[in-house]
């Protein structure tokens, strides 16, 4: 069995809009792979091409260039779709249906028999915490409840791969945590999760690997640990100076006061060992030493800035 469950190979999409058929390049170049059993984050600011990429992968939009494979089959392939669950962005469902009716419809589309559909619907309604609203039409659901029923419908076919487009958008912190926990549960069950988002703390808490897309072009792909830890931004040293005062600070270091004494922010290229030896020799007491590595937010902002410079 292949380790890669989804492959986007040089995908691009250009729309032609309006009377004059104006060209809009929604996705310029997207290549990445999602591996079995991982949680893969697809990150990018609003309008960067995340949803269009996912729509190409789901067969809703035809690529202008490139090819995509889901579960070893070219998109859109019905056999692959049988093993796939998808939650669209800001999902819209048939609001005249109750959760039970809606999940029954989805189950029928997966050719699941009636008794099994009922059993699965019961399990999923319970799992996403909608038991008390099972007889209520979807039009009376809140945004968070709709997102939960959306997740439930994406699991109705018992998929190997679950693709969620912006599953956290519009949710309160508790709702976001529930979705995060659910994704981690899916991973524990051996399923693969691909989700798009621009909410970075969620990514840091859940994703094994990420791809970042800016203005329709993928800039970075890889494990979070690899993308982030390689870049040491600075080292923070918290200390209380001795009687002899502070030795001379390395070039580019910044000093500020804090309740424990002083906070020295050493640049990434500074010789931290030499500085520590000097301050200890001067009688200072060192409280803490914190290497400040690049956060996902730093990386995101830097890539966005690179993109802006490139565009200029």
């Amino acid at each position: 069995m292949s380790d890669v469950v989804l492959r986007a190979d040089d995908l691009a999409k250009t729309f032609r809009l309006g009377f004059f058929r104006k060209r809009i390049e929604a996705v310029k170049q997207a290549s990445f792979e999602v591996r079995r059993g991982e949680i893969f984050g697809y990150l990018g600011p609003n309008g960067s091409g995340k949803t269009t990429t996912l729509k190409m992968l789901m067969g809703l939009v035809f690529p202008s260039r490139g090819r995509a494979e889901v579960l070893g089959r070219p998109v859109p392939d019905r056999r692959a779709k049988r093993r796939l669950g998808y939650l669209p962005e800001s999902p819209y469902f048939y609001d005249y249906l109750t959760p039970e009716e809606f999940l029954d419809l989805v189950g029928a589309l997966f050719d699941v028999k009636r008794a099994e559909r009922r059993a699965r619907a019961d399990r999923l309604i319970e799992r996403v915490g909608l038991s008390s609203a099972r007889g209520r039409p979807l039009r009376k659901f809140s945004k968070g409840m709709l997102q939960r029923i959306g997740i439930a419908q994406s699991l109705m076919g018992e998929p190997e791969l679950v693709v969620l487009d912006e599953p956290m958008t519009g949710l309160d912190p508790i709702g976001r945590k529930e979705i995060r926990d659910l994704m981690l549960d899916l991973k524990r069950e051996g399923r693969t999760v691909l989700y798009s988002t621009h909410i970075l703390p969620d990514v840091e808490m859940t994703c094994d690997r990420v791809a970042m897309i800016f203005a329709g072009r993928i800039r970075s792909v890889g494990p979070l640990s690899q993308l982030l830890t390689a870049r040491l931004l600075s080292t923070e040293v918290c200390l209380r100076p001795g009687a002899a005062g502070l030795p001379e600070l390395p070039a580019g270091a910044r000093k500020s006061e804090n309740p424990d004494g002083l906070l020295i922010d050493l640049p990434a290229n500074a010789d931290v060992d030499a500085f520590l030896r000097a301050v200890l020799a001067a009688g200072a007491r060192v409280h803490s030493l914190t290497p400040r590595r690049e956060s996902l937010e730093d990386l995101f902002v830097r890539e966005a800035a690179n993109q802006d410079q490139g565009a200029a």
């Binding site: 809703l60 989805v106 419908q153």
Partner: protein
């Protein structure tokens, strides 16, 4: 089959829960019942009046409901983006269109069934029967409505509801007027005649579905007498079904290539 059935059933359920359709049905029933009052204004022609008004009501409201359902139920899937949830499921796009169409037909069958039932009760109150000619006439109107639905679905596969409704209704009006257009063409010059004749050949001849009062096979047919023969019923049904399927296949081909942005 289960997938098509599921889409069809859901489409029917959506229509059943739509209040506008109830309003249309209410007005149709009102028109049919008005035949009772109108009949009193005539001299010994009450039953004839009930049959004519009743069939007119079923025809007119059947077509209006067909255009409404055909245009709206597919377009709403795109407008409300419910299609984003459904199409990534293991379902061919043609299955989706076919399921929607079958659901619409089921809706129309029930609606026309109710209208026919009301007409039957009205006739019964006048001590008349909903006899074989009436059954044949309502059947032909249903085939007509099926064709109108297919045309509405075809246009809504690529156009806005307003334009789709406009075109579908236009096709119906032109289709119903085919004999008149042909008669007009016969009086015109060769170029205009060719253009109109070609148009009449391409357009669905919907006059076939409402032939009461027309000459068929050198005889005038009327729902007040024997109406049409079984072979007429069969060939006209075949024509309606074949035309509907061709239009529906075109709609499926357009839908197959469409981006859902």
């Amino acid at each position: 089959m289960r997938r098509i059935q599921a889409i069809a059933w859901n489409t029917f359920r959506e229509a059943v829960r739509n209040k506008i359709l109830y309003s249309l049905l209410f007005f149709a029933v009102l028109i049919i019942l008005s035949a009772l009052a109108m009949g009193n204004l005539t001299l010994h022609e009450e039953i004839r009046m009930t049959r004519d008004i009743g069939l007119f009501g079923i025809d007119a409201f059947g077509v209006i409901i067909a255009v409404f359902v055909g245009v709206n139920l597919l377009y709403k899937e795109l407008d409300l983006k419910t299609v984003y949830t459904i199409l990534p499921k293991p379902l061919h796009r043609w299955e989706f269109v076919l399921g929607k169409w079958l659901g619409m037909l089921l809706t129309l069958a029930v609606q026309m069934g109710v209208m026919a039932l009301v007409l039957g009760v009205t006739l019964w109150l006048q001590e008349a029967q909903f006899d074989a000619p009436m059954v044949k006439a309502v059947w032909l109107l249903f085939v007509n409505v099926m064709l109108v639905t297919s045309i509405a679905v075809f246009f809504s596969a690529f156009s806005s509801p307003f334009l789709s409704g406009f075109f579908a209704l236009g096709c119906f009006l032109v289709g119903r007027s085919v004999p008149d257009i042909r008669a007009l063409a016969a009086k015109l010059g060769p170029l205009a005649k060719t253009v109109l004749e070609t148009g009449c050949t391409l357009m669905p001849n919907m006059h076939l579905f409402y032939p009461s009062g027309a000459i068929v096979g050198a005889e005038e047919v009327s729902v007040h007498r024997d109406f049409v023969s079984a072979s007429y019923l069969l060939t006209t049904t075949g024509y309606g079904v074949a035309y509907s399927l061709i239009v529906l296949i075109l709609a499926m081909l357009i839908f197959r290539k469409r981006d859902f942005v």
